[in-house]
């Protein structure tokens, strides 16, 4: 039975609509406005400010902004010191132009452009590895077995740590004199310590630890809810364990698994701490968030920071669409029983 929605019912949305507007939509609009504006610079490479009557141009040798009248095209005698402008930015607005300049810059400049490639080079293999690890463990642990609670807790445990603690733990474990290398040296598998920290693999391992725990926590519930009768039915009909998995279990759980998987992958696209702490953020692990943070905190170029974030968001949308398409190839419904 479909219930009719009455006019007044939309008021029920208000408690969520208001915070969403304040916390999400307004900042989004602001960041869009940042993306499509570019500051105008003078010949010395300094920003130009304006108080709607005059422009203020930087005067290199005496470190002042000269007042300039665009209508008469003349400099007047009144100069401002840089901090006068910064402290009174409500009056002295930065002169900007609207357009696609930032986006163009992003794709024309190598140090921005590489973030796309770097992010996907990390996230795609890492998410596939996570999927396989989490799914195989969840599949194995879906039935009641001895020690299930302990194993489950151990696998989900990294979720409680957060990426900072995982990274600092890794710096101890994987450093050249850490347990990992000491063990391999002692066993004789290697002659020189393996360098994992501050490379691509450092970040790869860090996000895999956290990501596997995240996926597993969702996958386990999906695998547990799967009606075991369906598997037994397939077995009695002559399908062996592998065929039962392939023809019954996998296609019926895949849509739900992909749902969790998209969430995990989208979250991973915005990775930052592990890329900086155990990765190589100037080179192979220079991902979206690294570049965005650099523009925001070091270069104070909010426009560019917003642009990098936009590309990040668009990548997330693309991933969601692709995974959604894949998901639609399967039967979408409840893999449990319908009584």
């Amino acid at each position: 039975m479909e219930q009719q929605i009455k006019k007044g019912d939309y008021l029920l949305l208000l408690p969520s609509a208001i915070p969403i507007t304040i916390l999400f939509i307004l900042p989004l609009l602001y960041s869009l406005s940042l993306i499509f504006t570019t500051p105008v610079y003078d010949e010395l490479g300094k920003e130009i400010y304006s108080d709607s009557n005059y422009e203020y141009h930087y005067k290199g040798e005496i470190n002042r902004y000269r007042q300039y009248n665009p209508e008469t095209n003349e400099y007047t005698g009144n100069d401002l010191r840089p901090y006068d402008i910064k402290s009174r930015s409500e009056i002295y607005k930065q002169v900007k132009t609207w357009g696609f300049q930032n986006i163009k810059t992003f794709f024309m400049t190598k140090r921005y452009r590489v973030t796309i490639l770097n992010t996907f080079r990390l996230v795609i293999p890492a998410s596939l590895v996570q999927f396989l690890l989490a799914f195989s463990m969840a599949y194995y642990l879906r039935k009641k077995i001895r020690g299930k609670f302990f194993l489950t807790t151990m696998i989900i445990f990294p979720l409680t740590l957060g990426s900072l603690i995982i990274a600092s733990g890794m710096t101890n474990l994987f450093r050249t004199s850490g347990w990992f290398n000491l063990f391999l040296l002692k066993v004789g598998l290697i002659e020189n310590p393996i360098v994992i920290l501050y490379t691509y693999w450092g970040t790869f391992i860090a996000i895999t630890i956290g990501g596997t725990a995240f996926l597993f926590s969702g996958f386990l519930a999906i695998c547990e809810q799967f009606d075991p009768n369906l598997e037994v039915a397939a077995l009695t009909l002559g399908a062996n364990r592998f065929k039962t998995f392939l023809l019954i279990f996998l296609p019926l759980t895949m849509p739900s698994l992909l749902g969790i998987f998209s969430l995990g992958t989208v979250l991973m696209l915005g990775l930052y701490p592990s890329a900086v702490l155990v990765g190589d953020p100037v080179n192979t692990t220079r991902v979206f968030a690294v570049a965005a943070f650099e523009e925001f905190q070091q270069a104070f170029n909010y426009n560019m920071a917003a642009t990098v974030s936009l590309v990040l968001t668009l990548s997330q949308v693309v991933v969601l669409i692709v995974l959604g398409r894949i998901r639609r190839l399967f039967y979408i419904g409840f893999g449990g029983t319908f009584k």
Partner: protein, 365 residues
């Protein structure tokens, strides 16, 4: 050719709990055997042992003299219909039924003919393209049957397949199941807690409790001659009285109840083991509620097995009216009268146990 099933001394233990305790059961070719019992009696465990999803703790199971304990489930050739049907929701009806045939690598054209035949036999000719979630409960049930029988399994296992249907449909499906079994002749094992289903469908019934088989026999044997009070109670007997045989004349027994001191005459000429009842034996008598006669308005009734009672509760359930009566001594009698009758609670009434309707069970509890 149909398959026989032998269960020999099978025990299944979960920790300290015996789900099946040294069970032996022989099921002949083409038989329809029900495992009947309350939940937790071990009937489903026995089914899963035969099916192969659980391993026996000790004992063996044979199909036609061939031991099957080591044969993996997908090679046992056992058909199964589940309580929740367990149809594959991502396949249409045709593919569901064809699944087993595809696993057996049968040619496409033969699959098509056989699936169509199976659909015909369960009267679902036009539903091949439909998906399970668009079918009614009864239709899903038929698909589940078709899927199980299309591969000609050696043994067909049915786990309470009718319990999710409404009362009317359940009766319909029961008749169809009976016809289907008659036509196909597959050895069938049916798990149920519903005595009516078991009695109407089975060639033999194994009544189970606490992991043990209490009685194994034809429906008539169990219905007329229950082996113990549990079986009697489960197939609808009530009004148990325990006591001793104080007199015996040919097939007439005089029974004295040890609790209230009632004396009852019992005709045992229908009883299977007439000669095994001797003077002084401890026995339990029981009678079905529908076999008790009620007499109202007769002041000085004379005759055998008459109880003076008061109506305690009456309950009209459509086809019968059930009464709970109390005697002065505190004996509670369950009576069912066919149709509607109206004795208010508190009414004084006579209950008569006809001599030939009383069943006699050896021993007390």
């Amino acid at each position: 050719m149909a398959t026989s099933v032998q269960v020999k001394n099978v025990t299944k233990r979960y920790g300290k709990f015996f789900a099946n305790n040294n069970i032996s059961l022989t099921i002949n070719e083409g038989e329809f055997v029900s495992l009947l019992g309350p939940s937790g009696c071990g009937k489903t465990t026995l089914l899963s042992l035969i099916l192969g999803i659980a391993d026996v703790t000790s004992g063996d199971i044979y199909f036609n003299e061939q031991k099957i304990d080591d044969i993996p489930i997908h090679k046992r050739d056992v058909g199964m219909v589940f309580q929740n049907y367990a149809l594959f929701p991502h396949m249409n009806v045709f593919d569901n039924i064809a699944f087993g045939l595809k696993m057996r690598k049968i040619s496409k054209s033969e699959i098509k003919t056989r699936v169509e035949q199976a659909l015909n036999s369960v009267q679902l000719e036009d539903l091949g393209k439909r998906f399970p979630n668009t079918l009614s409960g009864g239709q899903q049930q038929r698909v589940a049957f078709a899927r199980a029988i299309v591969v000609n399994p050696k043994v067909l296992l049915l786990d309470e397949p009718l319990s999710n249907l409404d009362a009317k449909l359940r009766e319909e499906m029961r008749f169809e199941l009976k016809k289907l079994h008659k036509r196909l002749g597959i050895t069938t094992i049916y798990v149920t807690h519903d005595q009516v289903e078991a009695l109407s469908l089975s060639t033999r019934i194994a009544v189970m409790k606490d992991g043990l088989i209490q009685q194994y026999g034809t429906p008539l044997e169990i219905f007329l001659d229950p082996a113990n009070t549990f079986v009697a109670g489960f197939v609808g007997f009530a009004n148990f009285l325990m006591g001793t045989i104080i007199e015996r004349q040919d097939n007439l027994i005089l029974f004295k109840d040890s609790r209230y001191g009632y004396q009852l005459k019992i005709d045992i000429s229908e009883h299977k083991e007439i000669d095994s009842f001797n003077l002084g034996d401890t026995v339990t008598i029981t009678i079905k509620p529908e076999n008790i006669q009620l007499l109202h308005g007769i002041e000085d009734a004379r005759g055998e097995n008459i109880f003076h009672c008061k109506v305690n509760v009456s309950d009209y359930t459509g086809s019968v009216t059930r009464y709970e009566l109390n005697t002065e001594q505190g004996y509670t009698i369950q009576v069912s009268e066919i149709g509607y009758s109206e004795y208010q609670s508190g009414t004084e009434i006579l209950a008569v146990f006809p001599t030939e309707k009383i069943s006699l069970i050896k021993g007390g509890n």
